[in-house]
Symmetry: C2
Subunit: 403 residues, 2 copies
């Protein structure tokens, strides 16, 4: 990793900072008189939510689908990313004719509170100081993220959701939605997630946070003010996390022990192996698009997530009386959120006689499978959401409700 | 992790540096006329090997047992550590009346070349400059470590070994011994290891190295000269690595989501969870006893290990004609060196009709199980080595050969 980022990196750094205050997205602002109450006790005000929408809300308002993004995701689920120029992070899933068909559904994807693409987070300006919050930003939870999303639905005049879906941290938000806003969720699709963050996952997050905080350019969280950026620390954090998103099998299949543009090892510390080169690239490109403090806050929100603990220690209590239709999905080679953790949620849902289906998909692609062109995933979710829509009387694609 | 290490940390820092040039161990020096040829092409001279011995070599010289240490181990296998004051790292296995019974066997444990406890490594003085080598130290391999150990046996007048054993990187050395010095190894016990380092393991090592090299106090490897120490970077590296030594189940059983000395989460970035506190402690205490550049070099040696590649791409070729008796051990919950990798070695040994036994031990303790009080491990190895000794005519404990 280069100590001095090049011109290109500085350009994307500026592009990224610009998205914090003036995102290339819809944005809704809430004033001092309209705070967001947080689990930590703080009332956050003012605050903003940046979001993207796709498709059209029908007259009956029955076709709204909320997509919740993962740790390092954002609202740009199905359009070109304003910083990286890359296509949306879930274009296999969301778009015209896709499983989440934007010709049929009205899709909303907000940036989470604590994020760095326009929703209020640690890089936003603290009205008390006129400077970026840094560590003065209150610690947020998955429930706080979901509370903010419910406020966004109010703003959009949407009483309830046909479906809320997401993978990884997105799946945690789906579970929280189903528990906290039972009447507003017709169908829920938590993918590759868990009802609580495991000890091993907390451990990996802590390594990432320590890597960021060990970087002197982190400046105790005040790096934006200081004109610096903890690039090396955040890159190391991303590298460690990235390994957990892939399976051992994927790494073996994609890279094995193949060398990078060389015939022999160099007996040095260059990236001799393809897997080293790949990881370094993952680290470096991540820092061009993400805020280091947001990384601290969002990982912390995941660590704190424990739905059973919030409901008297019994997970089933979180879902008592639910009428939501659930479809859970896990992947055989996902070791970050193993199938067993989805199964625990299924057991809890069974205990309250909920309407639940569960699919474990056979793949060697690890946790990342939820983001990939995985035919069984696309077919499962497309079918499940379409069935829920039919049951609810939402018109088929191309019929009726389109403008 | 505290930015300014306290008095205690400085004391152990000095104690650690003292062990580099003047270890509290036996040491053998080789002069300029007696270099160690390395795989990278360099002839290392002068060089030293620091080692511990336990027990007595019998007159027939048939009872020598070589213990090979793992990545962050050293020669203090069964005595108090001169820096930490803790007991030896394998006292469950090695000592009077233990499975590797020092009343019966003459046990030798050398510090590896590239290490930092008296054997020549990157913290040693480079004769060309009078300063520590730093990154001018040549990159070493597992075979180089083993070559140095063979030289030590020559020095001790030991023609061959009753047994060579070790876990993790120690197990890699055992395999290398069996391949390179077939006539000098009567029995071999590779534990929790593999014949080549996997893509995922290279990836984790690369994260650790990048964490060290990202620390400005690493000073491009010249930190000793500069009176600095990349404490934060090395601690992050250790934290990431430490997760891989434990299983998900162990972390869940030991820590779960338990909080550290508090009733509620603090909505901050302190170590709220026990697993965070534990990991931070692992990181901080490691830097008091280990050299950061040694960490780079030894992880690299493991990455480069690929016994099949060194033998025409066919692992069995490494063992052609072997008369060594093998006992391989793996652990069900070890995801760093999964059972499958031991099984590949067994298949290769079967292909050359070697004398091999293989035990997969059921445990939830992960890779670290090889260092722990694991009854089946101790019984397996004690029985195997004793049977080999009997076959070779080594007197029983307490008989004949004792002084």
């Amino acid at each position: 990793m280069n100590e001095n980022p090049g011109t290109e990196a500085f350009a994307s750094h500026s592009a990224r900072l610009a998205q914090i205050a003036n995102p290339k997205s819809e944005i809704v602002h809430y004033g001092d008189d309209d705070p967001l109450p947080l689990d930590c006790g703080v009332k956050l005000a003012p605050f903003s939510i940046a979001y993207q929408t796709y498709g059209t809300l029908n007259a009956a308002k029955t076709n709204a689908v909320l997509v919740c993004h993962a740790l390092t995701g954002d609202q740009h689920v199905a359009n070109e990313h304003p910083v990286t120029g890359k296509s949306g992070w879930w274009e296999t899933m969301v778009g015209p004719g896709k499983p989440i068909d934007t010709n049929r559904y009205f899709v909303i994807c907000p940036n989470v509170i604590g994020g760095c693409m326009g929703s209020t987070g640690p890089a936003s300006t603290d009205p008390a100081t006129g400077k970026p919050y840094g560590l003065d930003f209150p610690v947020i939870t998955i429930r706080d993220m979901v509370r903010a999303q419910a406020r966004l639905l109010d703003h959009l005049g949407i009483p309830d959701l046909l479906c809320v879906l997401g993978g990884s941290m997105g799946g945690m938000q789906v579970l929280e939605w189903a528990a906290t806003y039972k009447d507003r969720v017709y169908a829920a699709v938590p993918i590759a997630c868990a009802a609580r963050h495991s000890s091993q996952n907390i451990a990996f997050h802590e390594v990432g946070r320590q890597a960021v905080m060990a970087d002197p350019d982190w400046c105790q969280g005040r790096y934006i003010d200081e004109g610096k950026s903890p690039r090396k620390g955040l890159a190391v954090a991303r590298m460690a996390a990235h390994i957990t998103y892939l399976s051992d099998e994927t790494l073996h299949r994609k890279f094995g022990r193949n060398l990078q543009d060389r015939e022999k090892v160099t007996f040095g510390f260059d990236a001799d192996f393809q897997v080293e080169s790949y990881l370094r690239h993952q680290g470096v490109s991540f820092v061009d698009r993400f805020d280091a403090n947001s990384y601290l806050y969002i990982t912390r929100a995941m660590d704190y997530f424990d739905l059973a603990a919030d409901h008297g220690g019994v997970l089933a209590n979180a879902f008592t009386g639910t009428a939501t239709r659930f479809c859970l999905v896990s992947f055989t080679s996902d070791w970050l959120f193993p199938t067993e953790e989805s199964r625990e949620v299924v057991h809890a849902l069974n205990a309250v006689a909920a309407n639940v289906s569960f699919v474990e998909i056979e793949t060697d692609k690890g946790h990342d499978a939820f983001l990939l062109e995985e035919p069984e995933l696309l077919a499962t979710i497309g079918g499940f959401v379409s069935a829920a829509a039919l049951k609810r009387g939402v018109a088929l694609s191309g019929e009726g409700e389109l403008p």
